[in-house]
Symmetry: C2
């Protein structure tokens, strides 16, 4: 039915981000952060090798990732930092920024409103709501906590493109349902429970306990392979290893090994219900 000949149609071959691997999408976000740092430092051109080291991946993977966006570099030279940056922002749909509404003004919710990292990367928190009379009306980082009962009105008025759920887990599904009913299509939840939503709605979940449990397992795994790590922890004085000023691009290898396991990666897309 309707075979969808992917005729790009529009002027200037824009889209075709039909099938970019999710793993790649996650890394594009990382590259973006590094590119922003480079731009701030006045770097104009960067090679795949340099960018890759700064982002903690290998250069072949980086080039493959970027190749999904079409040609973005100049052979024998490298990538134009500004151009690549705006290309990635364009593909990720970040060009016009995002308006974020937060549901749940507990510890975590209030912390996120004040978190500068969002604003810096183009996400503006435009509203925060809660059901607890004790916090409704409370000012938080320039916003006032609104009653979640006026969620419909708040959504209509603030026109958020993304919603973040930071309510207790037994309230999460309810909030999610209502957000969906009011038109939200992108939801990030911190509640440690599965959320069901229509297939057209994108729901991502961040479970902090899961992250810690994975850390826990890796320690078990490592301890099993290595015989005895001589685990004498902090005794008296230890050699500080502070400086090593990193000017964004820290080319040469460190005595350490880059081992940041960035949490990210969706799982099954589409229907998962009983077949």
């Amino acid at each position: 039915m309707t075979e969808q000949h992917e005729a790009p149609g529009g002027v200037s071959g824009r889209a075709l981000q039909k099938d970019i691997p999710q793993a790649t999408v996650a890394r594009l976000a990382t590259y973006l952060r590094v590119l922003a740092m480079l731009a701030d430092d006045g770097v104009a051109i960067v090679s795949s090798e340099e960018l890759a080291v700064a982002a903690g991946v290998n250069s072949a993977k980086l080039r493959k990732d970027l190749s999904f966006l079409g040609p973005n570099g100049v052979r024998g030279v490298g990538y134009d930092v500004a151009k690549l940056r705006s290309r990635i922002e364009d593909v990720l749909g970040l060009s016009q920024g995002h308006r974020v509404v937060l549901v749940g003004a507990g510890n975590l919710g209030r912390a996120l409103v004040g978190y500068g990292g969002f604003q810096r990367r183009g996400f503006t928190v435009v509203g925060i709501l809660d059901s607890d009379p004790a916090v409704i009306g409370m000012p938080v980082a320039g916003l006032v906590v609104r009653d979640v009962a006026e969620l419909a009105a708040a959504v209509a008025e603030l026109e958020p493109t993304i919603a973040v759920i930071t309510v207790p887990d037994d309230a999460a599904q309810d909030v999610c349902d209502r957000l969906v009913a009011f038109g939200l299509q992108s939801i990030l939840s911190f509640a440690p429970c599965e959320l069901v939503a229509p297939a057209t709605v994108e729901v991502r979940r961040v479970d902090l306990a899961v992250e810690m449990q994975m850390l826990s397992f890796e320690r078990v795994r490592n301890a099993e392979q290595a015989p005895l790590p001589v685990a004498h922890a902090g005794s008296g004085r230890i050699a500080h290893r502070l400086p090593t000023s990193h000017p964004a691009l820290q080319h040469s290898a460190t005595p350490h090994t880059a081992t940041s396991h960035t949490a990210t990666e969706p799982s099954s897309k589409g229907s998962v219900v009983t077949p």
Copy 2:
């Protein structure tokens, strides 16, 4: 050198969690949460199908995951909830619980101390530190913020097994280096930058902006495939869809589609530096 014939040796075939896929480890943590809910509800036996639905995966994947831990169920019957639960806790190294120290008492750090989800899943926050004189000495959820200058003493005294970094990104590497020097082997960082650490140290990173950017992209992708989602958001009154009481096991399929993209998945293990 030393070919390591994996002779299980010890009594009662315990370990052999040598090569459990990381993807599986991430899901084991999820299963654990569901099993805890079931146990609270007094459920004693659960089938792979039921557990899978509750965890948002398909049953074949769940059985495959559990098979890495050895036989844990009874054919024709299902899994013993209590037994399976303690088996997974054992494999993940959660049996004795974990002591967590937090570095960075900003909005996020203080929020995490108060977050009940950790304690409930066996992670006890035993200390929080910061460098800002304005917050040092401040009481936070039963703890007092200590000076990060006494990090060595705090680590020696509190004996944490996991450290969480919630400092601004330009201080993160420094804090990480010191934690490693003081013997920490498992680190979870919320700073949006790569951290370098010895290969023996496990570093995981949670980047909230990346999660949002992935949401952003999926919206672009969906919008591209679907012609026009008729995006008339919250107008006046909308049908509330609240109740649907879920008694932990909500067997039958919902009108919705389970679409929780749980964030999780490490990337490359081991050396990533220039070869």
